[in-house]
């Protein structure tokens, strides 16, 4: 991408600057406000808070339902991102440098979960569940989340493979290493960064996902995102602010770590 115009800054009119900053503020402020509110002592979520307190965090940490939901979300996230990582990495290796209509169609299929609206996946999974009387509802959620994470993994790992030097693999093989040994001792360690980034993005996708869980699970197998959705819709429990801040903290950490680990990609 040649950037003729962009190396030097061009003058921006003051009105444009004000407008652009207003839009940026519009994008950023709501999340910051949630963090501030979570430290408010007041029950009614006023901003700015009159009094400060950690009571909502205490309530969260002493509530068995919320903690159970957090546990479920962490387990589901770990399981689904691991599945997506293994399956997606294999597929990325398979599709590396393959051209043609058939391989393009395969790539399209692997990207399909990103195109179909989540609510349809959720509703369809629910219909399947209702007919099969499956006992293990969380398994359904894990599988659905793994499918949702698959496009992220495929895209990240395919990008990583573009810049990967396969001569190192060939050198290792020529020195006598079998294919599996070569894969685990030469290929994987070099792709660590992208693998970790894919896993983290997959985890994030699952952690934030409320709709599928909403349709499929309930009660003790509810995920954190699902409980938060239900509370937002039904009773607006102020503990949500603390939960929300925790979610921001978790997802920001994961995101920042992921950005550091993935190599820079051209957009």
């Amino acid at each position: 991408m040649h950037a003729y115009s962009s190396d030097k800054a061009a003058a921006n009119s003051p009105w444009l600057t004000v407008f652009a900053c207003a839009v940026l503020g519009f994008l950023m402020l709501p999340s910051l406000i949630v963090v501030v509110i979570s430290f408010s002592a007041d029950r009614y979520m006023t901003f700015p808070p009159q009094d400060w307190s950690l009571r909502w965090y205490r309530e969260f940490l002493s509530s068995p339902q919320w903690l159970a939901a957090l546990g479920v979300s962490l387990k589901v996230g770990a399981a689904s991102s691991t599945i997506a990582l293994i399956v997606g990495t294999l597929a990325s290796f398979a599709l590396h440098r393959k051209e043609g209509a058939m391989w393009g169609a395969l790539r399209g299929v692997l990207l399909a979960p990103a195109i179909v609206p989540v609510v349809l996946i959720a509703a369809a999974t629910f219909m399947l569940f209702a007919r099969t009387h499956h006992d293990n509802r969380l398994l359904l959620v894990v599988i659905a989340h793994a499918a949702l994470a698959l496009p992220f993994v495929t895209i990240t790992m395919s990008a990583a493979l573009q810049t990967y030097d396969f001569n190192l693999d060939r050198a290792a093989r020529s020195l006598g290493a079998g294919p599996l040994r070569c894969f685990f001792t030469v290929t994987l360690p070099q792709l660590k960064g992208s693998l970790a980034a894919s896993a983290l993005f997959g985890f994030l996708t699952s952690f934030d996902e409320a709709v599928i869980a909403l349709f499929v699970t309930s009660g003790s197998s509810a995920t954190l995102a699902q409980r938060m959705f239900e509370s937002l819709r039904d009773d607006l429990d102020p503990v949500i602010a603390a939960v929300a801040t925790l979610m921001i903290a978790i997802t920001s950490t994961v995101f920042i770590v992921g950005r550091f680990l993935a190599p820079a990609k051209a957009d």
């Binding site: 991408m1 950037a3 003729y4 115009s5 962009s6 190396d7 800054a9 061009a10 921006n12 444009l16 407008f19 652009a20 839009v23 940026l24 519009f26 994008l27 709501p30 999340s31 406000i33 949630v34 901003f47 700015p48 293994i86 399956v87 597929a91 290796f93 398979a94 599709l95 393959k98 299929v109 692997l110 399909a112 979960p113 195109i115 179909v116 609206p117 609510v119 349809l120 509703a123 369809a124 219909m127 399947l128 209702a130 793994a146 499918a147 698959l150 495929t154 934030d208 409320a210 349709f215 938060m228 959705f229 937002l232 819709r233 602010a241 929300a244 979610m247 921001i248 920001s252 995101f255």
Partner: protein, 288 residues
Amino acid sequence: MSVAIAVPMRRAIGQNLSAFFMCSPALILVMVALVAPLCLMFALSLVGQDGGLSTENYARLFEPLYARSAWVTFKLATTVTLCCALAGYPLCYFMSRLSLRAASVALLLVLLPFWTSLLVRTYAWLVLLQRRGIVNESLQAIGAIDEPLRLVHNFFGTTVGMVHVLLPFLVLPLYSNMRAIPGHYVNAAMSLGASPRRAFWQVFFPLSFPGLTAGLALVFIMSLGFFVTPALLGGGKVSTWPVRVESALAIYPHAGAAAALGIGLLIATLALVGVMRMAQRSFTNRST
């Protein structure tokens, strides 16, 4: 000589087979998680109330209740797309004229909410727009209004929430498009006598069109499938198609109505994605 040709061909077939084999777990995952449930949904949509094959579920889609939710969905998607265009284009223009370093900071700011949980952001808007929320309080403090405005649990609140979520999806393609526009085109136009305004509209804006339409199409398509934001910020009054699917599943004992709604939404989404890709292809053909 036939042996010399056969060996590389056999290796190629072998490589293709092993590649397909490596793809198969991913394919199986998508089949199980996505394709099988959707096929079942399609089958269920063709089952009538008496249990036999019928299209009555699709016929029901044309009843006023469902037609209205189709209209609300379309209205919401159009409003959100328009607002994103009006807010996003000047922002991208501003960013494209910043230095590269300042612009990447701005881009990071745009993308940061993108990675914040959707639920958290929806909650933030509930807090901001409520009757005693900061927006109403500030407006009352400066005397602009006497009574708090109804800003949330309605169409307005839903639009605000969705614009907040979808704006980064417009900014990404549009900004990179604008960055790639050579600055000397506009300068050349002005040196030939065009006013800055004319140079912008006749040179810069048409060149930014591909990014703009790609971004807006993306925003529109995603607006159709949104569930969380209309469900939470709409207060039950913004019954978009996804919201209807959920309520239909909850209300009706048989899944036919919800299934037909779901398939309708799926077809609409896939059709729009197909149109968008064809348009993109024709854009790239025209520019070369």
